[in-house]
Amino acid sequence: MQTYFPNLRNNPAAAWIATFVVAALLIALPFAFGLLGNAWVRALAFALLYIMLALGLNIVVGFAGLLDLGYIAFYAVGAYMYALLASPHLASQFAWIAQTFPTGLHSSIWFVIPLGAGIAALFGILLGAPVLKLRGDYLAIVTLGFGEIIRIFLNNLNAPLNITNGPQGITLIDPVRIAGVNFGRPQNLFGIELPSVYLYYYLFLVLTIITIVICVRLQDSRLGRAWMAIREDEIAAKAMGINVRNVKLLAFALGATFGGVSGAMFSAFQGFVSPESFVLGESIIVLSMVVLGGLGHVPGVVLGAVLLALFPEVLRHTVQPVQTMLFGKVIVEAEVLRMMLYGLAMVFIMLYRPKGIWPAPEHGVNPSSRAGKVEAA
């Protein structure tokens, strides 16, 4: 952050004002978008979930340099974990659960978030441990394989014991409840009626900000340096005493926790989960947010996530009506157009701006980029 706003460090007053302005904008955002319809606020809430996912994947791919093509598996783990612990499904399948929990399975968010983080981290370690010694593209393919294996299991664990309810998914998932406030119902705050989706937006906003802070702090720490060292030269890193294997595992586990927590939130928000939400395509979308945004660069990744999450909404609301207006019917569906533009974007960005649209600024001083003038400190 220092690189962008050096004057803020020296001017605390300016820093506070800037923070208030940004905070006010973020708080007002759903009201502005709400004018266009609640669907847009929903899109904003999903965009926040994507930001968290992208930041989590950024730890793995951007900070530690490990290409993970199966990241969505952690999202799935978190989502299904919450779904199982906060819906009538398990009670309806297993009599002993129904007996132990006569009022049904309900879980408080204070319990679910740490649990989701923990289970996802565990999966991260289980999946990461055997594959960390693999080279770049092999690691990518193996993680892709893992992601698909998890999805197939989620899709098929409905017999002989119905755990995940297969392709139909799990429904009637509890909304989030904090301090008696039910996020699934509109609430009245200072006389303003806030629809449920606004509440989720604010919740996700808080979580996203926490995520960003965690990422920035990790980046500038002993661990962040170790990740960067591994990325630059793994053997030299080892020679400096860094336990490369454990540090990589830590990246996997930490990245996974972000996925797990956002998965649990997704589950509560949508009220319903099915394996369809966790296909390979989703892993690729999150990866493209990281890569297109600016690999390893937190602001870039946030921007990439926002653009790629909101862009389809924009498309949906413009492309189809325009085509109907011009041609009388929709020739190219928004969904198809969105995918095509995605693919093209990936190709073009790799060809022309491989570091992303907002890459990290040059790290440290590079005298050759300062018109030959060498500065003495």
């Binding site: 400096m240 005493g241 001083v365 005298p367």
Partner: protein, 265 residues
């Protein structure tokens, strides 16, 4: 009883059809500057890689500071106390010089992810100490003014110094340098020599692979000569220099008498 920092015996290493090392050993006393020399391909870097854990030996015993150590995991060897530099300089090119040295402090510090996230007082204090010590080391090797420069923009000689600073940051019992003077001109070599003397005087034991015979002779307390993976001579530099087997290895047969007459006093 001499205070031995590194004692290695009976190292054998075979790569397919090539016996790279045959029964090689070394014994370095605390505070010594020990040289490992020999013609190209003699096995010096291979031996280095074995004792620092990069290659697994076929056999050998390894003791650091009297305690056996296992040369099988590079990071454990570094944690035990052997720090090394590389023949082809392996810095972290896109990190600044300061950050490179700070990475060197990793193994002697312990801040965790949780500490970083919560920004505990202990973590903040440790970070500050890391930065402080790293700046001191940069100063020690003479490149303090390049602290915020990307490592790959540094001049060649400064990059070598940076690599040494980074290795020193790990608080090693033994500093192992793989051809630190390679590619340097006479002036740079002199400066390097001064640095190494200072390091030795400050209590760090040094093991050195070098090609520059003059540098080695003027700097090292003891020297081992390798040729074709075998030790052919060991002792103080002056004696080794006159050893006919050594001369033959470097210059080929028939030069022994000529070289013997040309020795400096």
């Amino acid at each position: 009883m001499a205070d031995v920092v590194l004692r290695v015996t009976g190292v054998n290493k075979r790569f397919g059809g090539l016996q790279a090392l045959s029964d090689v050993g070394i014994q370095i006393e605390r505070g010594q500057i020990y040289g490992l020399i020999g013609p190209n391909g003699a096995g010096k870097t291979t031996f280095f890689n074995v004792i620092t854990g990069l290659y697994a030996p076929d056999s050998g015993t390894f003791e650091l500071d009297g305690k056996p150590y296992s040369p099988h995991e590079v990071h454990r060897v570094a944690a035990a106390g052997i720090a090394r530099t590389f023949q082809n300089i392996r810095l972290f090119p896109d990190m600044t010089a300061l950050e490179n040295v700070m990475v060197g402090r990793h193994v002697r510090t312990k801040a965790t992810a949780l500490g970083a996230i919560l920004r505990t007082r202990a973590t903040v204090r440790e970070e500050s100490a890391i930065k402080q010590r790293s700046l001191e080391l940069l100063d020690y090797v003479g490149i303090r003014k390049y602290a915020d420069y990307q490592a790959r923009t540094l001049a060649y000689g400064d990059q070598r110094r940076l690599e040494i600073a980074r290795a020193l940051a790990t608080e090693p019992k033994l500093l192992a340098l793989d051809e630190p003077a390679a590619g340097m001109n006479a002036t740079e070599k002199l400066a390097l020599r001064e640095l190494l003397v200072a390091i030795s005087r400050d209590g760090v034991t040094i093991l050195l692979i070098e090609h520059d015979v003059k540098l080695v002779m003027g700097l090292c307390d003891r020297v081992t000569v390798l040729d074709y993976g075998k030790m052919i001579a060991m002792g103080n530099p002056a004696d080794v220099q006159r050893d006919p087997a050594v001369i033959e290895a470097y210059l080929g047969g028939g030069h022994a008498s000529v070289a013997a007459k040309a020795q400096p006093a």
